[in-house]
Amino acid sequence: MTNSVLPALIFMIGGFLIPFFKGRAKSVYMMFIPLVGFVNLINIPLGDHFLMNFSDFKLVLLHIDRLGLLFGYIYHIIALITVIYILNFKNDVEYVAGFFYAGAALGAVLAGDLFSFFIFWEMLTIGSVMLIWARKTKSSQAAGLRYLLVHAFGGLVLLAGIVLHYTETGSLEMLKLTLSGPGSYLIFLGIGINCAWPVLHPWLTDAYPEATIGGTVFLSAFTTKTAVYALARLFPGTEALIWIGVAMAAFPIFYAVIENDLRRVLAYSLINQVGFMVVGIGIGTELAINGACAHAFNDILFKGLLFMSMGAVMYRTGKINATDLGGLYKSMPWTALFCCVGAASISAFPLFSGFVSKSMVMEAAASGSHLMGQKSYVVVWLVLLFASAGVFHHAGIKIPFFAFFGHDAGHRVKEAPLNMLIAMGIAAFLCIFIGTYPKPLYDLLPFPVDYHPYTISHVLSQTELLFFSALAFTLLLLSGIYPAEMRALNVDADWIYRKSGKALYHAFDGILNPLNAWCDRVVRGTASRTAYFFKDAGAKISLFVAVNIWLLAGYRDQRLEIKKKKLYNDILHGTLPAGIGAAVTITFIFLVYVLI
């Protein structure tokens, strides 16, 4: 046991205290939280801490190792940057939810067993949905609810998986799992929902663009990266992940080209980048896992930077659709510059951060393809190369071009507020710093790094790839073939529950409601008839037996009627003489005895 505090608690409790501060003290206090958290984190020694016994389970609330620490560090960095970014919003809900969310993510990546991991995982959902609802528009309410439903379902799948896994193996340890048995498959799927695997992904592109300006920056950092962490921890080298990752890297770029909402374009490119990480984890070699983690680290910075620049545009102009924007470099030159740095980083330009991490995954795929029986990795490599060119196309060029250059939409606004510029400046600085001097990042990676990004062939080939993608963009734009941005909505896999959901509702309304009414009639009818019958069933049966005996005994007419009435009333009111009651009971017992 150390003198340190659980890192998640610093964020969560620290966050809940924010509303008690006012004015400048509040700003200072908020920036203070991630700093204190960071100092606390670097002072915790490696190993297990905060052991707890919870009935039969041994819980490890804090497990410090290189993989968890890497994510822990970047979560602190992005939390600080985002907090600086949102200082001017004066929205306590956003502040508290943001810190709660960041704390949950920290808790999850530093959890030492599956159960504590699950608890923090669920808190992630709560924090993030508050950030979506904090926008307080009608569409954000609806998107938040859909987001909540998807993640509640995902959480249940994960929980079911953990329970089954525990009953199978008796272990809750966060160790590598192999895909065998329902438990591991359910855990795999539960993580996959948060990781935005294809078809499971629309919660991301649906909800992220609906969140608050700062909320989206928070959201882009934590949920998917925590899922990437969980895959790297539990399923490294699982081959299915390679193909899932390839699909993730490839399909969103097509959507990104035709999407009008620029934050949604970024949401699609977020899936595309996570695809690279998932491929790396699927390949599972040391180089590949290092590449996946390094890319997660960089992605949090440059994707955060891009979302921040788009957020600043939205804050100043009130618009986010490409059709309403353009020419903003005139009034927001700094934001435009920072956006270009983010764009260059995500596109993996030499000297920018994406260059030193994405290529590790590519290299791992290429060297994997020379192994026996892994010929198919060539396809992986080619698709990833396609995705690299594509990401430059939609995130690297499209975002800055349509927002800051291109057709001047006539917005004459002020430059982004100072705190936003500082936040973007820090992120931009880190992108360039890591890109030019990757050693500090490489030193943090889970495995020792023997990789040199700056070889002549790598720099030359990557520059060629990007410049000719840009050439394609330029020529298509000049020739008018490039698809014009349109005010339109592009249906995605969420159609399944948003539109067919309604069709399903009507179908069920037409079939189930009449069925329900019919069942209701049948049950009520049967019940009332049964009740009527059993009200005096005993008396009727007794009468039936008794009348036959009396007839044999010679009772007729008036006397018979009187006897019948008396017996009926006696049985109904339970006033049968004790002797007769006893006789009946004895006869009954005797009958049972004989029959058995």
Binding site: V257, I258, F386, F405, I456, A472
Partner: protein, 90 residues
């Protein structure tokens, strides 16, 4: 009178395009040099696949990839998925 900005002047846009097109050509020339130098073992080349050694492989791949990306998005994906903006509210 509003201040003139860099790209308000079409000459500047033209200049930028010229710089861009010449750098694209220069890259291809550099690639040729690189291949010659690595063939004669003046510099060590790190290649995973044979086709990486073809002249302009990355240039060709990047260009074709983006053209295909745009054409597929525009002529196949958009007609399939495009709906009115209030599609889900109806």
């Amino acid at each position: 009178m509003e201040k003139k900005h860099v790209f308000d002047d079409p000459r500047n846009v033209k200049k930028l395009l010229k710089i861009f097109f010449s750098s694209v050509v220069i890259l291809l020339i550099l690639d040729g040099f690189y291949i010659v130098l690595s063939k004669t073992h003046v510099i060590h080349s790190h290649m995973n696949y044979q086709w990486e050694g073809f002249w302009g492989f990355y240039a060709f791949y990047g260009f074709v990839a983006c053209v295909i990306l745009v054409l597929v998005s525009k002529y196949i994906l958009r007609p399939l998925v495009k709906r009115e903006e209030d599609y889900y509210d109806k």
